[in-house]
Amino acid sequence: MREMRGLRRLAACIIGLILIILIAVASLRLLAGPGGQDETWARIQREGVMRVGLDASWPPFEYVDKDGRIVGFDVDLAQEIGRRLGVEVEFANIGFDGLYDALKSGKCDAIISALPYDPMMTKDVAYSHSYFNAGQVLVVRDDEREIDDENDLKDKRVGVEWGSTADMVVRRLAERIEGMELALYDTSEEALRALKDGEVEVVIADAVSVYSFIRTEGGVKIAGEPLTDEPYVIAVRPESRILLKRINEALAIMKEDGNFDSLVGKWF
């Protein structure tokens, strides 16, 4: 009887050991890609160059300046990631519709182009952690202390750009928030200016427009969490596991050491 128990314990130990080895091997394969290695990462290291695809038509993320140079938030972000990876960055300016195809066909190693996360594409590409949320946000005057989320909009006058996504969001909120009054403006900037001037108590707008306004005119701030999410991410080929890991590490460190905030401050 005691021998049987000992044998069972031995068998359990062996099975456990095999499981641990299998998990370790699987983890290594996940990190290195199906072929056991990340060929893109190997080539980047060998040549010292990471090729980044972007569509330089979206200021302030990426655009061509008056001297014909591609500049913007994403350009600086890519350069900084490259610096931390110890490689040069080359940019390929590609129409937005062609970015995924360019990545798939190997014309670039990564897309850094204010690219929204698309769940339908996760079979075809691997995405980094989000580095920017371009969703709709609540905006109030700098001295406002009471408004923090949508539940605080009762009996408030809310400004939005007519016809925009913010307008759609507010019309839906108005169905359940009592006494909320809608004020329509031709642009987000006009709505934000009306907020500064006291015509409205709150504005709802996309984060990019709001950051831009805060940078140029100020006097307002984002209140609470975004009402909607539109995360921007970096895309690589699914087998570029090591490259993705390095990019995610670089993003995390940039957020920790304040470099990321400096970029936001520079461009927004």
Partner: protein
Amino acid sequence: MIMVLLLLTMGRPSQRFVTLGPQQHVETINPKMGIHTRLTDEVEEWKIKRTLEMVREMGAPWIVEYFPWGYYEPRKGHFDWTHPDIVVNHALRQGLTVIARLDFVPQWARPEGTTPRYLDEEHYDDFGDFVYAFVEHFKGRVRHFVIWNEPNISFEWGYRPVDPEGYTRLLRVAYTRAKEANPEALILAAGLAPTLAPEGSEWGMSDLEYLQRMYDAGAKDYFDMMAIHAYGWTFPPDDPPAVDKVNFARAELIYQVMVRNGDGHKKCIITEGGWNDHPRWTKAVRPGQRIEYTIHAYKKALEEWDWCEAVCLWAFRLPRATHTYKDYFTFVTTDFVPKPIYLEVQRYALEGD
């Protein structure tokens, strides 16, 4: 007991949970209002029905819908009309008129490695057979058929150099077979991509030049109406047309080519067009401008363009979000949330200005 019930229900035809519902009609002050729906890849019947209900509720009596040949004839001579029947029957029940766009070549009718836009002349008769079958199947339900899409750009011509004479031969085959199936059918020549491609461009040919070359090749006898694509980009609907400009009123230049070739009596239908309100796309306008321009475009067709029978703008809703500027052409979200433009167009259709 549960097993018995399961066994009893097995083998019985499945019950449809979505019904057509009562016959509806469109209430609108502008009978030329239309929209391009995008139901080709919409699997769930309730979404098809909901889309068409919302089109009717918006006040648009016309829809353009895409019916890909490759989906319905997976093998030569074997047709499956299940999905297009659902789309057409729901549209008709909502009181809508369907304009059917036909293209997309099945794999068996083209060489390996080509795109579904590639059709060589050896297979024109296969396309003709499909057109015959489609028109015959939908006789009494669909009368308007658009043959192909934007053949003046290389992408839509299977990445080959564009060929107005070749397209005219394809149009002749399709026209002839459609009329054999239903003499009442109305054949629309393909909407051409409004383009300023320079002469000799490998990517495309000016829509105006392409249409003239179609006439030169004898296309006049092989279409009853003209489909037009009329995108406004950043210009308002009243921006005057010009050969070197893409705007909504460029449609007038297409019609002028028809007039010059003795086809002024034929009607046109705008089967794609409109404005985009993406926040940062370079060809987009502000959302409020998009609303104003869209309503004015519908009014312009009604009040000024007697040669234009309907304006079907791109696009009502996409089956899934693309997360690009393309999402900003739509009138309702993928989740059926009406955008402000939908509500404003609906208000115009019911109340006028």
